[in-house]
Amino acid sequence: MVSFYINGKQASVNAEPATPLLWAIREHLKLTGTKFGCGAGLCGACTVHVNGKAVKSCLTPLSSIAGKLVNTIEGLSEDSSHPLQKAWVAEQVVQCGYCQSGQIMKAAELLKQNPNPSRDQIVAHMNGNICRCGTYTRIIAAIQRAAREG
């Protein structure tokens, strides 16, 4: 049993300490917005925040997050009102959508650290997140828009 906070609420998951956080979130807590893409830290589809830092939840053992604050796409805003979510709609970024929770969570970390990132800084920060549908140029435009419009 490991206890932590998820999207502001306390949660306990009855699973072995080595269980990847990804599966605890998706299948134990049924928050399915966080996605499984590779299970090996290579694609970023499973990106969530732990104490404000973006991590790949498929490589994060449950034991390492005891008592910590975990935020998922479901907790980014109540009503899709986060500047990135609005920018994502405005730029019509999404294709299949499967990578996008991870993309948005990764981008949210960037804007927190750097409210006005350059194109190169965006690319460097986001490069670990694969989008197989190839929405990269639109992701960049949406992050720039969110930075502009706040």
């Binding site: 134990h28 979510q85 019509q92 970024v93 490069n127």
Partner: protein
């Protein structure tokens, strides 16, 4: 608003038909195509009838959408055509998935005498195949509403107009919303006929050609969009299948006792080509997968297969072997005479490796049987709901009615998801277990048990006549996979070569193969347009000019070439270290021409594509923003396979296992600029989902030649191959 539900369509077809308020327009298939009818008639009919459009007193218009959604926007794009002719207020339109029932919801394909229905969203078909039917249905529903209002007001229907969701009588200023009409109107027993002359003129379009936000996007930015992998059922357990390292090997035995003793493991089920482990949680499944050791029966066809060796040595032998198994794909004129009389002959061979779909969502499905075991419910994301349902029924020995099918968003499809081998596995496991099961392949499984775009060798020869005109053409593609090798091999949609012979020479390796975005077009166009560029160079001509003067181009081709020449500002010199390359793109009725601007890191051998321009004739563009997005997506997908992606087999085993050794394009490698233009057309829409990638291979190779004077003949253009080419 969109009511695309996670667990089954909340409103089943029967409920849809049984609704007591509002107007429901049912739809049926007849040999002449689909047609609309009244609800009463639909209920009385002895054959499968489904609802298609419903108008509620509150003025909402519900349209069933058959456009399977894997990211290309067809879920929104298909019903737009209906809403347009109906003159519906798009904000009042609710979309629901159409059930997996092609007899009712399929588009009509006529091939000679054969008429069939299909819901398969493959080959960029969604908007292209449904467009006409959708327009007609929308126009008919509008006519019914107009007639009902005319009767109520006692005026001639011709005096009436519509505004979005409103019928207006301009002479008297009276207005009735569609919802109000739905409270008193009846759907006539026979739907009124409409002629295409009654369709809206392009100038009247409110939706077609206008940017309409995709319906699926809001729920894809907050985690609520449901993919089949997200389905949760009470009492559900988890499964994953381990397949043989040599594809299609059959399992013999495994360490059953050891694995069964592991924590959470519920069962182990033998399948034809795999062993499935089932546990209470997915982490327990993953742990069990690691321990499971299966011994596989000898004798799988792929055993010992070495793909690189086949491509390097076996294929060239097949290409010249007169006894090789071959299929003539295209023939015209007298090709031998053209070569005999040629003043110049050009020859080149091109190679391409296996490609993996790498859809972002690893394949998965959820299955649940009823207590009696005579009905199964399936949750999956499929490009072909009708076929999927049929194949599941077949695998279980069921009738169609025993399979209830729930469609979901797909985390990518790219051709992989029109065959549902993974769903059948889920169904078989659920049956063996008598419990609801979520079956997920790991990424490693998804790759190793992939269905690949086949590797190919292409041997081309071209003859120029006394005037230097292209007069003869020979193209032989060698590989495994039949028509997966020769789609897009014919050049008659853009170049008219009087004498030609095009063939495929087959072999078989026992590797699973499948359509991959644009199927064989990407590698066939690599060869065709690669040789075209080489001829232009050797004839000392600009690539555009060579095509214009020496090749008989179709009028459509001329227009897209002219357009992209302008867009890319081709004649203007680029900065040092940059160069341009040109190629044609052809797929699913659409035609395009594209230019790329590249640079090269001579040290690392890495090619970087900075800018892309593409001009496309795609007929009427129903949704320009979505269409542009699809093309951009195709370009990135194509570029990824051009620069990076290769699957290889050694000792019969796929050597790559995840994104570290099967690399796909990342953000830092994406072009900084992509410019897409559609020619202004009134013709029927053609497919756009795959027009983005066929041109990119040759365009990059041709730009590489412009930059370095060297040619690339083997895709992908990995740094290693680039460095080799530079040394050549």
């Amino acid at each position: 608003m969109t009511r695309i539900e996670n667990d089954a369509s909340k409103i089943t077809r029967r409920e849809f038909l049984a609704s007591t308020t509002g107007l429901t327009f049912a739809m049926a298939f007849a040999p002449a195509g689909m047609f609309l009818m009244s609800e009463a008639k639909a209920k009385a009919a002895g054959y499968e009838i489904g609802a298609w459009v419903r108008i509620e007193p509150d003025n909402t218009v519900t349209i069933l959408t058959p456009g399977a959604e894997m990211g290309q926007g067809s879920m929104t794009g298909v019903p737009v055509a209906l809403a347009e002719e109906l003159d519906a207020d798009w904000d009042k339109v609710v979309l629901e998935w159409a059930p997996a029932d092609p007899k009712t919801y399929g588009y009509t394909r006529k091939r000679g005498e054969r008429i069939s229905q299909s819901m398969a969203i493959v080959g960029s078909r969604a908007v292209m195949m449904y467009y006409e039917d959708m327009r007609e249905a929308g126009a008919q529903v509008r006519k019914v509403l107009l007639q009902a209002a005319a009767k109520k007001w006692n005026v001639a229907p011709a005096e009436l107009r519509t505004e979005p969701n409103v019928v207006v009588h301009p002479a008297s200023g009276r207005r009735l919303t569609y919802g109000q009409i739905a409270t008193f109107a009846e759907v006539p027993a026979e739907m009124p006929a409409v002629s295409t002359a009654e369709y809206k003129d392009k100038s009247q379009f409110r939706l077609i050609g206008k940017p309409i936000p995709r319906r699926d996007i809001p729920e894809k930015v907050n985690g609520t969009a449901k993919y089949s992998i997200d389905v949760q059922l009470p009492g559900m357990v988890y499964a994953s299948t381990v397949h043989g390292p040599v594809q299609l090997a059959e399992p013999e035995s495994w360490n059953d006792d050891t694995v069964r003793k592991m924590k959470g493991v519920i069962d182990i089920v033998k399948l034809e080509h795999g062993v499935a482990v089932i546990a209470d949680t997915f982490e327990h499944v993953l742990a069990a997968r690691k321990v499971l050791a299966v011994s596989w029966a000898a004798g799988a066809t792929a055993e010992g297969y070495d793909s690189e060796q086949a491509l390097e040595t076996a294929y060239p032998e097949i290409a010249v072997d007169q006894n090789a198994n071959n299929t003539t794909v295209g023939e015209a004129g007298d090709v031998d005479a053209a070569f005999a009389n040629a003043t110049k002959v050009y020859k080149a061979d091109f190679r391409s490796d296996y490609g993996y779909h790498a859809q972002m969502e690893p394949l998965n499905a959820v299955a649940r049987f009823n207590a009696a075991g005579d009905q199964v419910e399936i949750w999956e994301g499929t490009q072909a709901p009708g076929r999927s349902r049929q194949r599941i029924a077949q695998a279980l020995g069921f009738g169609l009615s025993q399979v209830i099918h729930h469609q979901h968003y797909m985390g990518g499809g790219f051709g992989r998801r029109s065959i549902n081998d993974y769903t059948i596995e889920a169904a078989l496991i659920a049956r063996a277990l008598k419990r609801p099961v979520k079956m997920i392949w790991t990424r490693e499984e998804d790759l190793a048990y992939g269905m690949f775009r086949p590797q190919a060798l292409q041997c081309l020869e071209a003859a120029l006549d006394g005037d230097g005109k292209l007069s003869g053409w020979r193209h032989c593609v060698v590989g495994d996979g039949g028509n997966l090798l020769y789609g897009g091999i014919k050049l008659n949609k853009y170049y008219d070569v009087p004498n030609q012979f095009i063939e495929q020479r087959g072999t078989s390796h026992g590797i699973r193969l499948k359509h991959w975005r644009a199927v064989a077009h990407p590698f066939n166009l690599f060869a065709i347009e690669g040789l075209m560029d080489e001829m232009a160079e050797k004839e000392g001509m600009d690539p555009f000019e060579f095509r214009r003067q020496r090749v008989a181009m179709t009028p459509k081709a001329r227009e897209v070439f002219d357009a992209v020449e302008k867009m890319s500002d081709w004649p203007t010199k680029r900065p040092a270290g940059r160069a341009l390359g040109l190629s044609v793109s052809e797929r699913s009725g659409s035609l395009g021409a594209g230019v790329v601007e590249i640079s090269l890191d001579q040290q690392t051998g890495k090619i970087r594509v900075h800018k892309v321009w593409v001009a496309i004739d795609g007929g009427t563009i129903v949704q320009p923003e979505m269409a542009r997005h699809n093309v951009e997506s195709g370009i990135i997908y194509g570029l990824s396979s051009v620069l990076k992606e290769r699957a290889t087999m050694k000792d019969g085993k796929v050597r790559q296992s995840n994104f570290h050794d099967y690399e796909v394009l990342r953000m830092s490698e994406a072009p900084e600029e992509i410019h897409v233009e559609f020619l202004d057309r009134l013709t029927k829409p053609t497919g756009l989902g795959e027009i983005g990638n066929p041109f990119i291979t040759a365009a990059v190779a041709n730009a590489f030649h412009a930059l370095t004077g060297k040619r690339l003949y083997h895709m992908p253009f990995t740094p290693q191959r680039v460095i080799q080419a530079l040394k050549a």
